[in-house]
């Protein structure tokens, strides 16, 4: 399972990096979304993998095992903030397209570089 998680994160990063390196804002945004997925998942996984449990206390039972709740809490807010970041970049892209007349990441003339 560790290998699946690690490679899953790796593939998302690889695809994300490839997209971020493209020349159009929309591709960059898709790449950022993928990188965000990967980062959140990686952050969560740093609490190590536990199958079929929940970080919900069963009061009075000392024998229950729990997953690590802290990375989960961190990842939860990271997911929400990640959305806000994507939304911001999207609007930035829209604004750039509307003001500059092109969606190339380097603005007008970017294709020539």
């Amino acid at each position: 399972m560790e290998l699946l998680v690690a490679s899953g994160v790796g593939v998302m990063v690889g695809a994300g990096v490839y997209l971020v390196l493209r020349a159009r804002t929309y591709s960059v945004i898709l790449g950022l979304a993928l990188l965000g997925f990967a980062a959140n998942f990686f952050l969560f996984a740093s609490g190590r993998l536990q199958l079929g449990l929940a970080p919900v206390i069963v009061v009075g039972d000392e024998t229950v095992a729990y997953p690590d709740p802290l990375p989960q809490a961190l990842a939860l807010t990271a997911i929400v903030i990640g959305f806000a970041m994507i939304a911001f970049v999207v609007v930035l892209g829209l604004r750039a397209h509307s003001d500059l007349g092109t969606d190339h990441v380097d603005g007008p003339g970017g294709e020539l570089r």
Binding site: A6, G14, A15, A33, P67, L76, V90
Partner: protein, 938 residues
Amino acid sequence: MTLLLIVLLPLVGALLPAWFIRWGRNQSALAAGAVTAAAFLLLLSLAPQVFRGEVPSAAWPWMSAIGLSLGFMADGLGFLFAFLILGIGLLVVLYARYYLSEKDPMGRFYGYLLLFMGAMLGVVLADNLIALLVFWELTSLTSFLLIGYWKHLPEGRQGARMALVVTGGGGLAMLAGFILLGHIAGTYQLSEVLQSGDLIRSHELYAPMLILVLLGAFTKSAQFPFHFWLPHAMAAPTPVSAYLHSATMVKAGVFLLARLFPALSGTELWFFLVTGVGAATLLFAAYIALIKHDLKGLLAYSTVSHLGLITTLFGIGTQMAAMVGVFHIMNHAAFKASLFMNAGIVDHETGTRDIRRLSGLWAAMPITGFLALIAAASMAGIPPFNGFISKEMFFERTVEAGFLPGVPWLLPLIVTLAGLFSVAYSIRLVWSVFFGPPAEDLPKPPHDPPFGMLLPVGLLVALCVLIGLLPNLFAGPMLAVATGATIGAEWEPYSLSLWHGFNVPLLMSALAVAGGILAYRARWIFINLQEGRLPIPEAKRIFDGAVDRLAAGSYWLTGSMENGSLQRYLALLVGVAVVAIGWPFLTGAWGTGPGGTTPVDGMSLVVWAVLVSAAIGTAVLHHRRLIAVIVLSVVGLMLALAFVHLSAPDLALTQISVEVVTIVLLLLALHLLPKESPREDSGGRRARDLLLAVGAGAGVTAMAWVILTTPISTISDFHLEQSYPGGGGTNVVNVILVDFRGFDTFGEIIVLAIAGLGIYAMIDALGVPDRWRIGSPEDEVRYPLLLTVITRLLLPLALLVSMYLFLRGHNQPGGGFIAGLVTAVALILQYVASGIGWTTHRFVRDFHGVIALGVLAAGATGLGSWLFGFPFLTGWFDYFEIPLRFIGPAIGEFELASAVLFDIGVYLTVVAGVLLMLVNMGKIRNASAASESAEGEG
């Protein structure tokens, strides 16, 4: 407190002269003088303590964990230097009042001067290595301002820049040295560092640390080969030279040698480096001083030479040598400051500083000439002045030191030669200027200057005579405490005297004087030799060349990396990261951890396969944007499944609802952007990016693998234990969010709110024309009836679900974030199915208000705990039983927690933030769709 005031007074008081200049030049000078005098008096109030052998100190801790504090101490050494800085500072303030002309902005001059004074006081009184360094760099900066004071002179600007580059660069080396020193000693506290000398000297990092620290000291004190900046700094107004280049700035380097003497001195390396550099500087600069035609140039090289003398003494490393070093610091400050001021007077009254043009000024300026004569005699080491005593003692130390085994006569020979040149240039300074036939072609008719300019010189010269005649009375006590602090040990007061009897040093002195007179008479041989056949490399040209090459190199490097292409920057960034992360794997430093692995089941394998193909699919299909977004959404959904399986139900709920709003957002954006990406990248670039992507993916996979297979030590046990008894909830993730780490969450919802407002602002400025706004006739678009009806039915159900998720959040998966996202999704669905106009009419219009309400609710919950005397955001909860007996058992206990209020704030902020982003984008969608159709009609 007094110590802090002494340093702060000039720093803050720097504003006063700049302000008072509006009432006149005298007022400005008075303000500067008053500030200096006040600091001086405060310093003197510490004198009884210092002379009793106590060390007044004070510290304000700042970052104690890494040893940073603003600490000051006034031991004998610090006191002596502070005395020189403030005492001579006071004289310079007076002198500058008469020296500066009407055209010079005097307020600014005094402002800079006081800033420099404060920085210098900080250096000599600091009790923390890092604080010392900060003040050290401040002296470099403020001296830059002072040297470049005459902005209209190119020499001034260039000299200031050179001084800044050399001394600032040395300061950086010193920073590295100090960090090593702090690391070795285990503290940055200077007074503690000074006591761990044995530990420091035997440490393996001693050599690199020493070299770095000495780089700082040598650049500041203009030691060979860093001496070249000092003569060029002579472009400064003379009061600046008299202050910075006799008593303060350049003395900071030798101060550092004295300060760290107990910690660093006494090793072979110290001896050879410090004595070697010092002796080389001493001789070389004394020779150059003789052949300079500029009065201040001569004095500059003479200063370099005398600093070399002091450096040599500290290098010798014995307690007696250190004592003589401290003594010569005092003496040099007195005679050199007066000579600089004297040179300034000559320049001021005759209009030139060229020794070849000046001659026979005695008749016109007898007082100036008399004072110059005594100060120069002191500099040359002629009895009965103070310079003679310290020079005799210096000669004695060099005879003792031996220097190189086998050639014990080498160091005494060097210093005798240097003494010889020193006598020669001192004679030239006085004889060529004040005696001989009166000069005829002077720019101005010379006469003695106003009393205010003579007084500071006179006071300093009087000190030279008094210390020379009665050394124990006028220098003894100060020298004793300063030396005691320098060597860091008990110190037998040493009796100073003018007459040491007939011995080797006296013979050396006699040789130096006799040879000096001959050398003066033969000076034109040296000058012609130098100007004709032996052009030594001009340091300024080398320096300028080096600076030019460095600048050209920087331009080339910047230009080749920064061509304005985001793609190139990112490729470089990713490339460097791949190499940096990949390196430890390739060298075998990182590998599989010792932890076991968890078993794989078929379902996980399927989810993994779908996720991986969808992620790759997004990259492959990115030219067709709509399809790419849909494929991307598959990745998010698979992640949600993975979260469920990997024991994170809260994350699964969050992920799935964020997924919905993200995809809606991306679809909205797609409506306004081209639907396809052009295939414009060259094959080479695609191959390069593919390589980078594979490298990054492989690197992250390896990194994740190492981490996941390494057992964890977590701090979460505390959270698990305390969640129910301490936080009142069983869902630990939610308790962490709203209680344990509530402050983080508070910050995060504020970020969300700011992002929402930022988006609103950017969209607002897109300039949506009014007629396309909501409610206008153009907004009447038909929406699919079936979708509209179903979503309206779904809305209450969805809201109910979100309420349920919210209320149970403290104990079961759910909570403010998730409930807020679900509500947002439910409302977005209405916008999608029924149109913005319809929905806006029926729901909240003003999301800003709701965002503010949410942040305020969360903040108020946090503040509420203050009312009960607890820190910000302390959680509170209790259980209640409804006292009605007959329904009691049916409902049972219920819980009230302050965390619920906080969670309401989170909920409101999330709902309003998400809606603010999406709905505003929907508005431009309407506008642009409508404008497209309007264009079509037109």
